[in-house]
């Protein structure tokens, strides 16, 4: 009995250890774009951290809201102070899973279509997100690209009536991460 229990216990530990091949990035890119007839707003963050588990298909992202860079300094200030309230909610995260893991051959270089399902936490609000993207398997590298819309109201990001003409209600978010094997 004891032996069985130990075996079970070890297998519990071993399974994730063995099946995990972790890939990571600290310099992933997330950008977003808001387009209205009045004004275009463009911002970029290239300090995105993410881990991708090729064994289970799990993928997590974390990003500091303050490290988004805008063309206009005042936009950046307003983004942090008034819209995303980055002092209250400094981090935004995504926790999800590649749902079509079986159709990806990590041993073979090439480009694969992926569907990712998960939860995005933004401005302190958690929402389910499903998106499709492209995963490129390279030599010891993975490149994940995708985009998804974020509707501001879903995340309780308020836009005052005075500037509703200038800020799109739905923002296009683009992800571009190049992973390397995690040490």
């Amino acid at each position: 009995m004891k032996r069985i229990l130990i075996t079970c216990f070890l297998s519990g530990i071993m399974i994730p250890l063995f099946s995990q091949s972790l890939f990571m990035t600290r310099s992933g890119q997330i950008s977003f774009f808001s387009k209205t007839s009045m004004e275009n707003i463009d911002a970029m963050n290239n300090e995105v951290t993410s881990i991708l588990n090729t064994g289970t298909g799990e993928v997590v992202f974390a990003v500091l809201v303050k490290s988004f860079r805008f063309e206009k300094a005042l936009m950046e200030e307003h983004f942090n102070e008034n819209y995303l309230e980055s002092n209250k909610f400094p981090k935004s995260t995504f926790q999800g899973k590649i749902t079509n893991l079986t159709s990806i051959d990590f041993a073979k270089e090439g480009s694969y279509a992926v569907t990712i399902q998960g939860e995005l936490t933004l401005h302190g609000v958690k929402q389910a997100v499903t998106t499709s993207g492209q995963l490129e398997v390279g030599k010891g590298k993975l490149l994940l690209k995708g985009n998804f819309p974020v509707t501001l109201a879903d995340y309780k990001i308020e836009v005052p009536s005075l500037v509703t003409e200038k800020i799109s209600k739905t923002i296009d978010v683009r992800v571009n991460c190049e992973y390397e094997p995690k040490k």
């Binding site: 297998s11 881990i51 300094a73």
Partner: protein, 302 residues
Amino acid sequence: MNRRNRKTAFGIFVVMMLSVPAWAQDDLMKMLDDETSDKNKTEYATATFKTTRLVNGHSIENVAPGVLDFRISHRFGFISSGAYELWGLDNASMRLGFDYGLTKRLMIGVGRSTYQKQYDGFAKYKILRQSTGARNMPLSVSVVGTVMYKSLKFDDPTRTNYQSSNFYYCGQIIFARKFTEGVSLQIAPTVVHYNFVPTANDPNDLFSVGAGGRFKVSKRVSVNVEYYYQLPANQFAGTYNSLSMGFDVETGGHVFQLYMTNSTGMTERTFISETTGDFFKGDIRLGFTISRVFTIRKPRID
């Protein structure tokens, strides 16, 4: 091994198998957290004040590098002047100014006031920035140097006048702290230098201390208060300390400042050393400033 044990073991195995994915993902998030713990990062306080002026005087804020701030300030007459002057609204004096951010730490600006036909120019440099994280700094510190030139014709053209009499200088050190999202305070020891003073007994260097704060009442509106205390024996006869209070209202690319003050001028020497109104006797002027920023040089975002 009996049947029951086998069953138990199988049960445990199933539970473990099921629980693995559940904790594995939290684990992955935790791993990411650990990997990216921001202990090595320094986070600087931003937006201690909404704009580069509290009311009349400088705040700790700079305009961002590559950004031009066009400021139009209006100052009306004393409210105490009564209905005939429409409580001061009949008389307006103004200052036009252009400020520009050269670097993250250095900004410069020029302006022209109708009051005494004065030109002014200044440079403001951030020495220390309030921060937390790897570098902990409780305060932000800036220095400001201002030169003012009065182009008004000389009072008495018959005597020997020197152009140097029309130059005035001001130096300030500003200490500021953003205490919370809504409360920021600053204190600014100041010296104003006159090449030419009204009477022989007046000092050429006048020391004062400015203090002020802002209190946010909503995300886009704050209440500002500013006071300049002239040290004893550092003031001209008949002048008062400058006291101002007002609102900052932010509307997209503009900041709109609306305030009450007992000062007439909008540059350091005129509001610190030459304020003739007694705030508490109703010698209060309404004023407003519109600040509009333009991005001249775009920062690289790649």
